[in-house]
């Protein structure tokens, strides 16, 4: 097994763990944690392909990963703000109890 395949498998496992967390947890914050894990696994793929792929001097994978980190930070801020507002409105962060969109 080449090193790149090892990193890709680690990223796939981490992505699946994050997906399982996002799909099975009831707390909205834990769902966001799962989404963060999935985004990070994608970043690991980008960096691994940059390291072992041809033409690393073009910095393509590295730049993609850096922009991905920035966008993920923005996503986390807005997502957690939404969770706080939902908690203030519905007095819960339990996703099983949030079964209506009406205010």
């Amino acid at each position: 097994m080449t090193p790149l395949a090892g990193y890709l498998l680690v990223a796939a496992l981490l992505f699946s763990i994050g997906l399982a967390g996002a799909l099975t947890r009831r707390n909205a914050i834990l769902v966001l944690i799962g989404i963060e894990l999935m985004l990070n696994a994608a970043n690991l793929n980008l960096i691994a392909f940059w390291r072992y792929g041809p033409h690393p001097e073009a910095l393509t994978g590295m730049m993609f990963a850096i922009f991905s980190i920035a966008v993920a930070a923005a996503e986390a801020a807005v997502g957690l703000g939404l969770v706080i507002q939902i908690h203030r409105h519905a007095k819960t962060t339990d996703l099983d109890q949030m079964n209506r969109m009406k205010g």
Binding site: M1, T2, P3, L4, A5, G6, Y7, L9, V10, A12, L13, L14, F15, S16, I17, L19, A20, G21, L23, T24, R25, R26, N27, I29, L30, I33, G34, L37, N40, N43, L44, I47, F49, W50, R51, Y52, P56, L59, M62, M63, A65, I66, I69, A72, A73, A74, A76, A77, V78, L80, G81, L82, V83, I84, Q85, H87, R88, T93, D94, D96
Partner: protein, 166 residues
Amino acid sequence: MSFVFYLLTALTIAGGLAAVLLKNTIHCALALTVAFLGLALLFLNLDAQFAGFAQILVYIGAVAILVVFAILLTKGSETPTDGVFSHSWLAGLGVAAAVFATLGWAVLSSVRVLPHETSVPTATVAEIGNALMGRYVLALEIVAVLLTLAMIGAVIVAINEKAGSK
């Protein structure tokens, strides 16, 4: 495949598993920090120094703290008595296992055609800065606008309207 790689992989996967499996939400956030740290060390192991330190600064320094603040503000640290997993947890686990099986199969069946450059690439901070200010300047400006908008948006979304209207 070096010993360091296996060590960092174990750290990252253990952190990720703990982050989604632990009952106490605060413990989950701390385990998430361990997973982020393992990923940053994996980036450093991949000779991507800038991305590794950016990962530490942004994720451990900002996102993990943000998650802890959100937990404190929503009283999410109280573990619910009727379990922490959704009613449809079995379906979610099945979907995640299917996704992992598909991704693992795709990786393992394409091992022979994956690129494998042995030369160690250099990406100094000066090179990255030049690329950001040259070829990627438009993307950099868009990300700057996006971050500003996200910050304003997060404040507006989370602002307490009742307290503000007094």
